[in-house]
Symmetry: C3
Subunit: 154 residues, 3 copies
């Protein structure tokens, strides 16, 4: 199965994104390293989830948000590889950040949803290192943010 | 324009820093990768801004602090390249951390000041990936910390 | 002195760890880069320290926790190098995260314990870049988490 097959199987249609005019880039591709900036649970420019976990956003919704972060990561990876995600040799690392309410420390359960989706899409190449950290706040008041690093084929 | 020209144009004089005796290094240069440790808004060994954003430090002051973090990053990059910042081929990634008060989630507006300065100095080579995260606390009670990764010319 | 000698001198016996069935990996080794996932102060599967610093966990205990994170990093590095830590050419970066109580900003004092142990074990090769950040919460309610990046010998 190709990566495009696995995306279809997962019911994921990658959004077509344009590099925004901004002070930074959604990704940098240099030599064979692809670094994708922290992605938020945004679709069509709108934040779909806002608030801390679990007081305002349930763990289950935060997992949906984490998956949406991954979809946006994949969309940028698609852009960076000119539509050929098969050029990705390895997912190296995910940086997972969860805005946690006082008393909640289970960022891993939220970020697992991101890790599982990455593994589902990339198979063995998707086995990655990661951090899963509870933070004070995230852009757009998002409950989750995920950044990613990939190695590309020579 | 050279990078030194752009620094002059931006009114920036890089401080001359000595590697401190410490448990870690301000930067590591290995192969062609330069990793600069998290830098704080410190000048002449003194923290110029302290406290969380926006309760104790305004967003505007936090932006000044973010620019000072970048100046310190550049000073270490200058040290690492024996004074030749032109050896920097690409700014790969900034990690931006803002100590945010409850209810404030706009780390990006603060870190944009760092991103814009990096882009101003390095031009196209300065277009970078990043994260901008709100955290609970930063060393020296700083409002902002920025780390950076660079690729050097072969 | 070999690295094994230095481990003995430091009184450290590395635990033998098995890659757990999980959504991510404790480390990724790709080309010559070894990325170790965020490690917690866990021994034999049990969290030895829980709570924020300094309200629930003293700075001194948090330093012990930081050293235990490093022991787990070393155990995974040992696994990744088939038992030959001498293949590690350079410690590139530590990411240090401390769950801080309101009013405490001294993550560096905690993470210094990790940095010093790394330097003790690897000598000059252990001189590393790092961040030391105060965060809202960490997995298992841990006071400290440390991730690491290494470069391996060609």
């Amino acid at each position: 199965m190709t990566i495009d097959d696995r995306l279809r199987e997962a019911g994921i249609t990658l959004p077509t994104l344009d590099i925004p005019a901004a002070a930074f880039r959604p990704y940098v591709l240099h030599d064979r390293q692809l670094i994708v900036s922290g992605q938020l649970p945004v679709r069509d420019g709108k934040a779909l989830f806002t608030g801390k976990v679990p007081d305002r956003v349930s763990v289950s919704d935060a997992q949906s948000a984490a998956r949406l972060c991954v979809v946006n990561i994949l969309a940028w990876a698609h852009h960076a590889t000119d539509g050929n995600l098969g050029r990705i040799q390895k997912v190296l690392r995910l940086g997972g950040f969860v805005a946690t309410s006082e008393g909640f420390a289970d960022a891993p359960t939220v970020i697992n949803a991101a890790s599982e989706l990455v593994t589902q899409i990339f198979g063995e190449r998707g086995a990655h290192a990661r951090i899963a950290i509870g933070v004070a706040s995230l852009p757009l008041n998002a409950p989750v943010e995920v950044e990613a690093t990939f190695a590309l084929e020579p």
